[in-house]
């Protein structure tokens, strides 16, 4: 049974239909990549699934429960965490306090201790008292992922985790995300960078202009001219 099952997802903002009738399934512990050019509606899709957007129609089933229409603060408490494209950290909070803030979402469920998070991100442990605003781009991205992990999620939605990061850091990121997946957490990965997508995901869905245009394995996607054209047409 899928841990995440989305059907008929449509997101409209005023008159702009950002996402039209998107459907996808993610099995427990699996990593699915959501690909497509800029403006294709990838971010709108994951934010809609996570509960951050108001005008959403369609059905989202998570872990057997219908979470369509639930606000993000409730969705995250159900075990579906989002690492948003712009990170959305708290500029004045220290690394430690950011993680502590997120423990709020894990209440009632077994908690993930900060030590576990620091094992994934030793860089963050070194900087535990430093405030988020003074961290480097890569460290902020790690903190954002760590914040999602603290909520003890069964699944994480990752929106362009490699954006704006230097090549070396991207490799580290790929490693860490791979380890997170191996610990049993399913992942929906939004990426423009096909290299990251191929390293982490087995299957993918491609969006263009808000619509699904392709779905299949990532290997097949790399071979298809269609995908290239989707980005540049």
């Amino acid at each position: 049974m899928s841990i995440l099952s989305v059907s008929g997802l449509t997101v409209a903002h005023g008159q702009i239909v950002a996402v039209r009738d998107v459907a996808l399934e993610v099995a427990p512990g699996q990593c699915l990549a959501l690909l497509g050019p800029n403006g294709a509606g990838k971010t709108a899709s994951v934010e809609a699934i996570a509960g951050l957007l108001p005008k959403v129609s369609g059905r989202v089933m998570f872990n057997g429960e219908d979470i369509s229409g639930m606000p993000a603060s409730t969705v995250v408490c159900r075990g579906l965490a989002l690492v948003p494209q712009w990170r959305e950290l708290f500029a004045n909070f220290s690394v430690e306090e950011t993680l502590l803030a997120a423990t709020n979402a894990a209440r009632g469920r077994p908690a993930i201790s900060l030590e576990v998070i620091f094992e994934y991100f030793p860089r963050l442990k070194e900087r535990r008292s430093q405030i988020a605003g003074s961290l480097s781009g890569g460290e902020q991205q790690m903190l954002a992922i760590g914040r999602a992990l603290v909520t003890n999620p069964k699944m994480i939605l990752l929106d362009e985790p490699s954006a704006g990061l230097a090549v070396g850091i991207v490799k580290t990121m790929i490693d860490i995300i791979g380890r997170i997946q191996q610990s049993g957490v399913a992942i929906l990965l939004v990426e423009q960078n096909l290299e990251v997508a191929t390293a982490l995901a087995e299957r993918c869905v491609v969006l263009t202009a808000g619509r699904m245009v392709w779905s299949g394995t990532v290997v097949d996607a790399m071979k298809t001219d269609e995908i290239r054209e989707a980005y540049f047409a």
């Binding site: 996570a50 995250v76 948003p84 979402a105 909520t151």
Partner: protein, 291 residues
Amino acid sequence: MSELLMVIIGGLASGAVYSLVAIGIVVIHKATKTVNFAHGGFVLLGAFAAYLVVVKLQWTYWAAYLIVPVLIGGLATGVELAILRPLRKADLFTVITATIFIGIGLSEIYRLSYNTEILAMPKPIAGAPFFFGDVILTRGQLWVAAGALTAGFVGLLVFSHATIGRSMRAMASNVRGATLCGYSVDRVYAIAWFVGGALAGLAGVFAGPSKGISPDLAVAMITAGFVAAVIGGFDSLRGALLGGLLLGLAETFAAAYVSSAMKSAISFLLLFVVLLWRPDGLFSEAKVRDV
């Protein structure tokens, strides 16, 4: 010298009340991005409630200090639920206008019940004033200064360290990020208004005996609270606390060494100068870029 000391203590006493009011305004603004022009009305009703508790019900002042903040906090949450929640998506203009008229409405409700007679309350602390040489310090002044300041500090500490404060600070910093930590906007806003209202109510209990209860109290408190908050930088609780004290001192100094007209004018002049010279406030914390 002794006169100077009395002026300072007097300034600290009224300044401490202003600090409480300003802290309440800033808590609400930080957490909900709303500037609560109705805050003065909350203070007035707090003073009025204290009057009812102490004079009508003949209970002790301690009862007032405990009950009134809860009452006014509840009232503030009610205002949030009934009026501001539906206006959540509206523009600033609408929200400011609404809170201005809610504030005046609250003081009108009071005026209709007690007209414009000034209600007097007994002193919170009985006993003779303290004499240090030429210096006369009334117990009331010392009580207000100490009590209101302590309450202010406690408020600051709760906000910066307690879990409940964390939810408000997270919401203040980044609403989306806060929801991703499981903090519900509705709940945090309600809490912030409750805390803000409670602080206003408490300020009212302190202000009632020292300033007298009349509809003018609402306008006086909102302006003083605002000026203090602006001096402090409008988003800094510590700034609000210090701003209130600074304002109180400025007023008593103006009254003692210039004229009573200057006392009324000084708060406005201070506001004006701060807005033009240091619009971010005198005590504001350094701004960190959004992440």
